[in-house]
Amino acid sequence: MQILLQNLLNGIAAGSIYALIALGYTMVYGILKLINFAHGDVFMLGSFTGYYAGRWAAAHIHGEDNAPTLFVAGGIMLLAMIVCGLFGYLNERIAYRPLRNAPRIASLITAIGVSFFLEYGGQFVFGPDPKFFPTLVPKHIVHFGGIVTTNYQLIVLGVALVFMALLQYIIYGTKFGRAMRAVSFHFETASLMGIPTDRIISTTFILGSVLAAVAGILYGLSYPKIDPLMGIMPGLKAFVAAVLGGIGNVPGAVVGGLIIGIVEAFVGGSSFSNYRDAIAFVILIAILLFRPSGLFGKSQAEKV
């Protein structure tokens, strides 16, 4: 029972990071029908921004031996969000917008190109060696009955939940969200109704990239080894999560991310632990075979 709960907790913590990344995939797909394969690498960019900002803060603000204050940690996350948001905007503006009316496959191939650009450009700029993410918050070990956790896992969960709630509010509670939903229903009609589609699309990219930055920081916090190729696996798994939940469906991405995280934790804890990385792709194949629209992707489901 304890093991069950422990695995469940580990799975939810890992899954909430997948969920944050999956949200970016699913929002962009919902609005442009484009799978933005560079999204996992935006996540890497977020982690690296946090790494350099954290090291700078350690050298100039709080000293090597003291943990940064909550204010500094928040500032580092904000900076990563700004950098990734800016990248998301430029990415769409430079790479995808000129191809808006080209066949969809052209944008897809461009997305793969942007992904390679970030991965190998990252190796060139940051160096291919793994780096160790600075401590942003002092680590405490927390006992809950029989299960053990760290405040890191709780922070990951809490921050992820806050941002998911915020996104939910933006999509369903604001004028911008309504415009976003309109664009995802029907692009041309939305633009005929006077919705500034280009601006909506740009903002969607920014939103997705900001969430990827948050995921990047949370990932760096709980698994402090980062390298320029770190975005590939979480990116692919988050993509599977988005497909599992029904691509284009926002709550689906969250549920999909959590399912992938939990399933991986249980497989990793079983005697089949060498298949842990494979399980996400087994799920992908199963979903594509038996329920291509995903768990929540009914044909008339609300898409964003």
Partner: protein, 398 residues
């Protein structure tokens, strides 16, 4: 217009190719004919998750080669090392070795540390009849790739068995096993440890695996913790070990971690921190060894690189010196002559012990030390010496 552009591009390409090809030919021609130099190739993980392996190995090789060259080189010729980075990847290792052999025409190749990389490169060296010496790959399969492949360190059957014997002698009966599915080294060492440990009455109470480069080991460690082992045997590489130790600590798994020479890196303690306290692993030499040769080596290395040499540096230093010694004895630098000379290496005194190449092209009877992390430092815990009498006598004469 488009057609013209294509023509121009093709023409440009032809010019570029034509311009390149003769250049590289003259490049090698001058070095081969005019140099009085012997070209030796090195491929290693200068970057990537096993970056310190490659860097230490490179330092060790350069130190040995510079000393040899300063003393007049080999038969009047200087040795020149050409280094290729394989980024800790097997496919890159194969590419690097192919380049060293076919483009640079090296007479011999030194490398790698990670067994998977050595296994990728060995068949290429064998096919081209260029001798390869791996300074520190311990997987037994490597030297079985052919008669041009040599090794100057011990192998994993010996390492795994020695570790199991040691652990059993400490009264440990229950061990958990966590191996890296992507690494030939980890699989091999895990297998040999288990073989001897269970034969000696030990029990593997839990087994799990991970893939190097993973970040999350909590699921596996949760299972391991539930089985309540006395030790957790993790034959992996240092980057992963540091993180495994951290996460084990977070989960309250307090059994010490035990591993092999893949742990050996200045970064191990930096990554693992306090979580590694009390954990121990087997290694090829101990930097605090009081024998004059080791002491002198450590001093010279510190002066030059500003760091304590790790096991990889010591092994590389020895491998490069064995190669230079063989070059001296070889009839020519032709592959087959050099191969015979390396195979005939006998009682060569290295910093990691006496090196004699056996019939299966492995170094025979080398010493093994077990080092423990204590107070954030490596300390010597035990020594296993198959040539005990011989070394005992040697120490006495010093």
């Amino acid at each position: 217009m488009k057609k013209n552009l294509a023509l121009v591009l093709v023409a440009a390409l032809v010019v570029a190719v034509a311009g390149c090809a003769p250049k590289s030919e003259t490049g090698t021609a001058t070095t081969a004919a005019g140099g009085g130099e012997i070209l030796v190739g090195e491929y290693g993980s200068l970057t990537g998750p096993q970056g310190t392996f490659g860097t230490s190995t490179h330092n060790g090789i350069m130190m040995a080669i510079d000393e040899i060259n300063a003393n007049g080189g080999v038969n009047g010729k200087k040795i020149k090392v050409i280094t290729e980075d394989d980024q800790s990847k097997q496919e890159e290792a194969a590419t690097a070795v192919t380049k060293l052999i076919s483009e640079n025409n090296v007479v011999a190749v030194l490398g790698e540390v990670a067994s998977s990389c050595s296994l990728a490169a060995a068949p290429i060296c064998q096919q081209n009849k260029v001798p390869m010496i791996t300074p520190s790959s311990t997987n037994p399969e490597i030297t079985k790739k052919g008669d041009y492949i040599f090794r100057t360190c011990f192998t994993d059957d010996y390492q795994g068995h020695s570790l199991a014997d040691y652990v059993l002698s400490e009264g440990i009966k229950n061990a958990a096993l966590l191996t890296d599915v992507k690494s030939d080294y980890s699989q091999g060492l895990g297998h040999f440890f288990e073989e001897r440990f269970t034969a000696g009455g030990g029990k593997i109470v839990a087994r799990a695996s991970y893939a190097n480069g993973d970040s999350d080991f909590r699921a596996q460690l949760t299972t391991v913790k539930a089985s309540n082992p006395q030790i957790l045997f993790v034959p992996g590489y240092y980057t992963d070990i540091g993180q495994i130790a951290q996460q084990a600590h977070d989960l309250g798994l307090n059994a010490p971690l035990v591993g092999g020479d893949g742990w050996e890196s200045p970064k191990l303690i930096e990554i693992g921190g306090k979580a590694l306290e009390g954990s121990y692993y087997s290694n090829h030499y101990f930097y605090g060894d009081p024998t004059p040769m080791v002491h002198e080596f450590v001093q010279k290395y510190k002066d030059r690189f500003g760091a304590t040499p790790d096991g990889m540096a010591a092994l590389a230093y020895d491998a490069a010196r064995v190669l230079a010694d063989s070059l001296k004895r070889a009839k020519s630098t032709k592959g087959s002559d050099l191969r015979d000379a390396i195979a005939a290496t006998k009682n060569f005194q290295g910093v990691t012990g006496m090196i004699t190449i056996g019939p299966d092209r492995n170094a025979l009877g080398k010493k093994l030390v077990i080092e423990e992390v204590k107070g954030g430092q490596l300390t010597l815990k035990a020594t296993v010496d198959p040539q005990k009498n011989a070394t005992g006598a040697a120490t006495a004469t010093h």
